[in-house]
């Protein structure tokens, strides 16, 4: 099962490191990363594999969101099916 993590906010040092560390602690494997910085605005979309997740997916969603709150970032984690069903017939 895969999920999509989106991270947006003001750019700073170590965003990718922090997000990756959190994923690693949850046993969540990063499959793909797309990231860009426009002026000072940081945007990253990560595709992650949650098959080996430690704990519930809901708790991981909350954990990522809390990580974002502490760093002035907006991190949302959504099951990939919402994108697949909306954009693929």
């Amino acid at each position: 099962m895969k999920a999509v993590v989106t991270v947006t906010g003001k750019d700073s040092v170590g965003i990718i490191a922090d997000v990756s560390r959190e994923c690693s602690e949850w046993g969540v494997n990063i499959i793909d990363i797309s990231q860009s910085v426009l002026r000072e605005y940081f945007a990253m979309i990560m595709l992650v594999d949650i098959d080996g997740i430690k704990g519930s997916f809901g708790d991981f969603v909350d954990g990522m969101s809390r990580l974002g709150d502490g760093k002035g970032l907006r991190i949302s984690t959504m099951h990939e099916d919402i994108f697949n069903t909306m954009h693929h017939v």
Partner: protein, 452 residues
């Protein structure tokens, strides 16, 4: 494989354009709760509802979190109570209403629908008692919603029932006048009522439905309005295509949530209702969609045509996105629940008569419209009869949810708060239909009902 623009489009729809699932509604049959002893019946009803729907709120929360899509309401609809109550008195029916309210509180849902009757052809003694109890039931409870079906294309129009409903609506307004007559916001009079509608106040669990079922209502006026803005100055064929594509995407999310809720609750999936349901939030308005199409103001000339295009395109886009489509499925035009409609009504662009015309081409009917509190019961009956005739003649659902604002007149407003919003009092013709209504009886079914 996912591509970035798809991900960003979905996230933008949710964050910026108010895409949400308006409701997960569990329909529950109460047929097996019937009996002679009112207290035992109430106990059975309470136990069945709180048992079957015990996890509806937590499952809704889980899905909301995991898929990142807001689910605004979790609700329950039940078998029309007149079918469960049988020969109970009006006082007994009010006890059932209190039980439903208690069950809704215990579950943590915001509305429970089904306190109603299907009387399109005639009323039994039990149905008369239930209808007479409606004003008291709605005044005493906070979460119970009531609907009465007074007509169908097959049966014609029960004018005796309409005549009764005029008084019932006024009585409900009077009993809740301290709260801007909010009781009337929980009471709908229908023609051709759907038995699997997930939206309140008209939701109930039809007699042909299974033991329990999950129905989902989607939303997304903001998403459609933004798509139309992005489409620029295209012609109307292209505009219709844009709406279809957008409705498809919105409905796919509804289908996903419905399937997931059904699986987690172990209750069969019923339908997805394709309706565009507005909220009072700016940017979540059906009126603004019509204005984005090129109307100076919703309610002006061209409004009915624009709404017809919108409604048709929403259905065409949505129908392929879901395995079972049902409920009301169309664009809602409730005045108090739509910021653009409120604006249009305030400035006089939108009138009751124009709204009536609009209901011929979209779902539901005269919805959440505040009228002066001194209108007569006969006038309310006339408004209902007109609206119901549009449904019967066109083989579609129509409904009336009007709020006679006791002690208020044109220029004043009523405020309900939350999703029910607020509404300016709209003028109503003062010419009386009293003699016509007093004739009673039934208006025969139209010729095209004879299809066999």
């Amino acid at each position: 494989m996912l591509n970035i623009s798809d991900v960003l489009e979905t996230i933008n729809m949710i964050r910026e354009e108010n895409l949400d699932i308006r409701t997960i509604t569990m329909g529950i049959s109460l047929i097996d709760c019937a009996g002679d002893d009112i207290d035992r019946v109430c106990d059975r009803i309470y136990d069945k509802i709180t048992g079957k729907a015990a996890r509806i709120v937590s499952v809704g929360d889980e899905i909301e979190k995991e898929y990142g899509i807001p689910i605004v309401n979790r609700r329950v609809s039940v078998t029309p109570i007149s079918l469960v109550g049988g020969r109970f008195s009006a006082e007994d029916y009010i006890k059932i209403a209190r039980t439903l309210d208690r069950a809704a509180d215990a579950l943590g849902i915001n509305f429970i629908g089904g306190y109603g009757a299907l009387v399109q052809k005639g009323m039994t003694e039990g149905e008369k008692c239930l209808i007479e109890s409606i004003p008291y039931a709605l005044a005493e409870t906070g979460k119970v919603c009531s609907s009465v079906n007074v007509a169908s294309t097959k049966a014609g129009i029960n004018m005796d029932a309409i005549s009764k409903m005029g008084d019932i609506i006024l009585q409900t307004a009077n009993l809740t006048k301290e709260n801007d007559c909010i009781g009337c916001a929980k009471l709908v009079v229908f023609a051709n009522v759907p038995e699997d509608n997930p939206f309140m106040a008209g939701a109930f669990h039809g007699v042909s439905e299974p033991e329990a079922v999950i129905n989902v209502g989607v939303s997304g006026p903001g998403v459609v309005a933004s798509a139309i803005t992005r489409a620029g100055d295209c012609d109307l064929s292209t505009l219709a295509e844009t709406v279809k594509r957008t409705a498809f995407k919105i409905t796919r999310v509804g289908q996903l949530v419905a399937a997931e809720a059904s699986r987690r609750l172990d209750v069969p999936f019923g339908i997805v209702d394709l309706s565009l349901a507005p909220t009072p939030a700016v940017g979540d308005s059906v009126a603004y969609i019509l204005e984005n199409m090129g109307l100076q103001k919703c309610g002006g000339p061209g409004t009915t045509a624009a709404l017809a295009l919108l409604n048709d395109a929403v259905k065409k886009g949505g129908v392929m996105a879901s395995s079972h489509v049902g409920g009301l499925s169309g664009a809602f035009i409730p005045v108090s629940e739509d910021a653009g409609m409120i604006d249009a009504a305030r400035c006089g662009a939108l009138t009751l008569e124009k709204l009536e015309a609009m209901t011929a081409v979209c779902s539901v009917g005269l919805d959440m419209i505040a009228i002066p509190g001194d209108v007569s019961a006969a006038t309310i009956c006339g408004i209902i009869a007109d609206e119901i005739s549009i449904g019967v003649a066109n083989t579609k659902t129509t409904a009336v949810r009007v709020i006679p604002a006791i002690g208020k007149n044109v220029g004043d407003e009523v405020t309900f708060g939350g999703l029910l919003g607020s509404a300016p009092i709209m003028p109503v013709s003062r010419y009386s239909p009293e003699k016509f209504i007093a004739r009673g009886g039934r208006i025969p079914a139209p010729i095209h009902s004879l299809k066999n």
